[in-house]
Symmetry: C2
Subunit: 793 residues, 2 copies
Amino acid sequence: KHTCSLSSYQFLSSPIVSHSIDSKCRCKAEWRPNNSPKLLDLLDDTVPGIGTYEDFNTIDWVREKSKDRDRHREITNKSKQSTVALLFSISDAFSGWLLMLLIGLMSGALAGGIDIAAHWMTDLKEGVCLNGFWFNHEHCCWASNETTFQERDKCPQWKSWILLFPVCVLQGPGLYVVNYFMYMCWALLFAFLAVILVRAFAPYACGSGIPEIKTILSGFIIRGYLGKWTLIIKTITLVLAVSSGLSLGKEGPLVHVACCCANVLCHFFTKYRRNEAKRREVLSAASAVGVSVAFGAPIGGVLFSLEEVSYYFPLKTLWRSFFAALVAAFTLRSINPFGNSRLVLFYVEFHTPWHLLELIPFVLLGIFGGLWGAFFIRANIAWCRLRKNTCLGHYPVLEVVVVTLLTAFLAFPIEYTRMSSSELISELFNDCGLLDSSKLCCYTSNSGSASGSVNATAANGLGARLVGPDLYTAMWQLALALLLKMIFTVVTFGMKVPSGLFIPSMAVGAIAGRLLGVCMEQLAIRHHEGDIFRGWCSPGADCITPGLYAMVGAAACLGGVTRMTVSLVVIMFELTGGLEYIVPLMAAAMTSKWVADALGRESIYEAHIRLNGYPFLEAKEEFRHKTLATDVMQPRRGDPLLSVLTESRMTVEEVERLIADTTYSGFPVVISQQSPRLVGFVLRRDLVISLENARRNQEGVVSMSPILFTECDPPMSPSAPPAVKLRSILDLSPFTVTVHTPMEIVVDIFRKLGLRQCLVIQNGRLLGIITKKDILKHMAQMANRDPDSILFN
Amino acid sequence: KHTCSLSSYQFLSSPIVSHSIDSKCRCKAEWRPNNSPKLLDLLDDTVPGIGTYEDFNTIDWVREKSKDRDRHREITNKSKQSTVALLFSISDAFSGWLLMLLIGLMSGALAGGIDIAAHWMTDLKEGVCLNGFWFNHEHCCWASNETTFQERDKCPQWKSWILLFPVCVLQGPGLYVVNYFMYMCWALLFAFLAVILVRAFAPYACGSGIPEIKTILSGFIIRGYLGKWTLIIKTITLVLAVSSGLSLGKEGPLVHVACCCANVLCHFFTKYRRNEAKRREVLSAASAVGVSVAFGAPIGGVLFSLEEVSYYFPLKTLWRSFFAALVAAFTLRSINPFGNSRLVLFYVEFHTPWHLLELIPFVLLGIFGGLWGAFFIRANIAWCRLRKNTCLGHYPVLEVVVVTLLTAFLAFPIEYTRMSSSELISELFNDCGLLDSSKLCCYTSNSGSASGSVNATAANGLGARLVGPDLYTAMWQLALALLLKMIFTVVTFGMKVPSGLFIPSMAVGAIAGRLLGVCMEQLAIRHHEGDIFRGWCSPGADCITPGLYAMVGAAACLGGVTRMTVSLVVIMFELTGGLEYIVPLMAAAMTSKWVADALGRESIYEAHIRLNGYPFLEAKEEFRHKTLATDVMQPRRGDPLLSVLTESRMTVEEVERLIADTTYSGFPVVISQQSPRLVGFVLRRDLVISLENARRNQEGVVSMSPILFTECDPPMSPSAPPAVKLRSILDLSPFTVTVHTPMEIVVDIFRKLGLRQCLVIQNGRLLGIITKKDILKHMAQMANRDPDSILFN
């Protein structure tokens, strides 16, 4: 044994020797048979807890993926031995698909339930159905025989609340006031319930959840954020919040709900329960499912997950996400919550093609969208910061109540703010058809046909569509609604209720777009002899579709806020189903992104991640500074030396003291303090658990017992206490960079490999360490921000 | 100077010292001001050639990206100084978009031209238009007034060749024989021209090009593969090859053509001309463009590029690819080569929804597709290997001629092989409409209405569709066509003409699908009272769409051959435009992939990459073996020691001898042979160029001049020859792994960071090197293949 260790040491200090690794040290046979580094032995962890993470910690992707590959290898090897193991191996291979199927089914069902419930409760604010209180307004009148096609939403079965009490027979203004009051009461009740439930049972259920999901997907651990309580409470409170009439949407939270489903379902599959990296693949797919059910756009959902949310998105996940998104979309469609057997939320069909010159107003809408995005992000972040730093933050319930009251108070008088945002968008997107009774379609025809509803296929000769008096009113109301929506969306996003901003943003854009569209239309009709319109608008023809403008505006505003690009266009494309309108959508989305990026690089999600100080390493933006690894590594100039462990010369007591004195989450192991050449890296958590385990279970371990990370035991006197051998928890292949490595490359390595820390070497000597937090702090510093904000709080 | 160097050396051999890097060595001021490693100085390369690559070499992605970031930084810094520089910086930022626009326009125009030319020349084999020889059959008859709607493709202006010569008035069989002969003559002429042109001007223009593009995108350099000659010749010969009636498609080669366009256009933009990594981003976008124009499916094209072709696909490229793909699709549509203002190649609209039970035949089609894929890959690779290893490979022209003759000879008698593959697919996909005159729609109605063409909307009560005698003939012909297509596709793919296999694969699948579809249809009609069909097929109703089966079969076969998944489904989805049929398509594509994967892991492209020995590191499949870096690194056990340079003790002569004696493409630089601690890495090409440059331009450099890689000069006698300082070409941050690093992690690092080599360290000492080729050889070895096949040949 003595010889062995001597030759081993001799080797370590010998000049360049190739292959000495397996030729010199005889006791290498100890570990050589399994031919793998000890890192992989964590699989059969006899000591429980080794290889897991604490809350609010970052995972090590490389380690997790190694663990999974090892598990897979073991299963493959065993499968050759027995039929049972073979069956197990097959079931293991298909468990991923089964999980996706379950996630799709569950998310689709939940989304359908949320849609139906929200629809019903929104209508409940106005009245109740006499045929059965569980019918919403639309279903109530469908069931009725007395409804004419013209007035689909008026039927005797649907009673507004006040009419239920025959005592108070109110008329005109009185009736209006009581309805107003009832509307506010219901809104208040819903919002209050929502915020109370969130506060009481699941504080993580508030907000949209996308910033946190991005952080979790990048490898952070927030226990309970995707748990079953969050799922239940978020589902319930989402319905309440949407029904309360606040300026928020259910699309973002649906992503959170789908991720909760995925996380809960992961617990039934060992493969995914035990491995943080594998679970994140599933969560990436789940966020695709969320968007798929929110908009009925499976391809858009997958691209959203790829572009906006995911951090690690291998091709296998792409394929599985797509499968899950499709299953979810089909589940939702068979539930048929909108009652029209359409998969999509806003189905539109336009009849008139667009003209190349219309790109100018579309680009204008893009600019508006970009400005709105930049304004919204600044205003919302300022408001959230105010909430965080002043006493406002101590009264979340009061805040919700006040905002709800104000919203309801101001929203009720205007038709377009009273209706739910999705209905509003639906109406704005709509091309005025033959039988459309909406005020937005109240054109007067100048060819003398009946006013009110005019044939939209004006090309048939029914005359041009001039604005009628009702449309004038509608336009003013829309302008007012635009203003209100903008203000309330800023204030609402970030409150302690589930709140998404897809729908409010789209509503803002759709209103702006529709307004511009109607203006353009009137311009074209009145100046169809002008130079611009001559070649394109024949008199009496209907050459501009205001609904298309609304759609382009919605895309522009959503793009400005979220900075989505391809996924946005694809979602919009899936809404309309025609390649025709991709170019207008893309022109607007591109302009919007450029304008918004010029005013501030961050999307709303990234701004919230930064506001909350999550340790998120943005994969999109390149690190462009000229710093080197030596400028970032710890310890900094003047700090005490790097805390290291040595391979063989430390005692249990010394190590325990080091652990107690420092808070680092890992320690490099070197040959000796005098010769700081790197041997490996050991994680604090593993070290603590192993030492406790040794103290408890290994006989004769005392404070003076030496700790050995070496392959073979050094010579020792027989009276010495037994050594604690910890090579099994040592990572023998830590990542290293040299001091001269540019930070841009270091950042790239961290992003692409998902590292947690990296050691800094110069000419073979260990000089320092760079962790993910060091990088984030450095990036904050380079951007002139407070580096200490990078902490979870 | 002496002091400085002393302290520098002292530092290098001192124990752990943090920050010594900028505190100890005074002469650090020499390089500190620009605060960057010398690697980045390559930008202002005074020595031309440094930082470029030789042909058939692998690029270093990290270096290329560093170069680009540096360039960007420089432009940004300058832009703050003057308005001109600011404008330049803006134009630089938008040059990427401009390039995408140009690629889209050029590829769209070329694709349109190819479509029109191929269509015309295919018809030329049969006859000519009297109104003008440049009309194809369809256009010729459109222009004619004497065409009835029923017989759109018969008009007096279109003459088959023989009728042009009034002397020989042939009838019946004689006419047929002469037409047969003319058909074969034209086919032979086209194929002969194609192969001669390819042989004479651009040998790289043959084949589909996708395997090579995959290799190039992964970082390999093949000069001329994407050059202007390849572009011109490939465009021309593609038209010839398609028109010759060989069993090949133009879709794969269109990807190559689009990439050539991109590469040629890159030469006009310094940013992309100079940087291999940036150029590869553009090429990724170009392959999306290729698929976009081939199928009229921009989203599918982007996903194809992402899933199948690209190696490095950042989000920015996603967005740009999408833009370019859209521009190309719109350019193509405005050229309108199909004359129907449809963007897509095979526009279909089905009227009957599918039933859940139909998933069983769809899965059967998937199994067929998988079997076909596996068979095709094996047979084609065996055939190509035969061509490579026997004298067959010496007569490529003869091979093409013989195959063309055989194809034409066997194809002419059968209607479905005589027509071009795209027309065939179109006809097979088609739902039998009211006015369809195709033989495939010759049903006899059992309710007594006129036979021939029967109303497809049988739900109206026009009765069920039984197979008529014409349809029986058609079925037999189709079965024969299936067999012929299968054999000829195997033989054709890989010949020295441009040849894609998308269309032939789809044709095989479509035929099989249509056959199965018709069988199912008849089964349903005859057994509509049976247990299976009762709940679903009411008597007289038309509940099965054979066209849908053809589409599903096409997707399955294409999936089996290429192993595409999401992109395949999305392309098919864009062809139909309905979410309805995604589930059948996905079921078939999934089954097909699983079946094919069970029989062989490689797609046809990967198989061809391996056949040709390209150094391609597959990103999809995980490396699952338990080897360590030490098992793979060079030098192997028993080999001579690693060739290294030392920091300061080598002379010009020694280095030149080392260069002459070895063929390595780079050398590690260590402190000294006795203390092999890594300083950096220098590339052979850079070293050779620098030494030549020093010999030529630096005064007093002789063979005994020392070569210095150190920061500051060591003490030297005044009489010594002047030193050659080469620190500027030294990469101070080479990537390192430890000997214990599992190969799975090493492979992951190579893939994700795009490395070219990586040094292997143990406890601070350099032990070996791993290059991309070592990894590929090792992987081949682990898969029991010949490791020496990994070489470009």
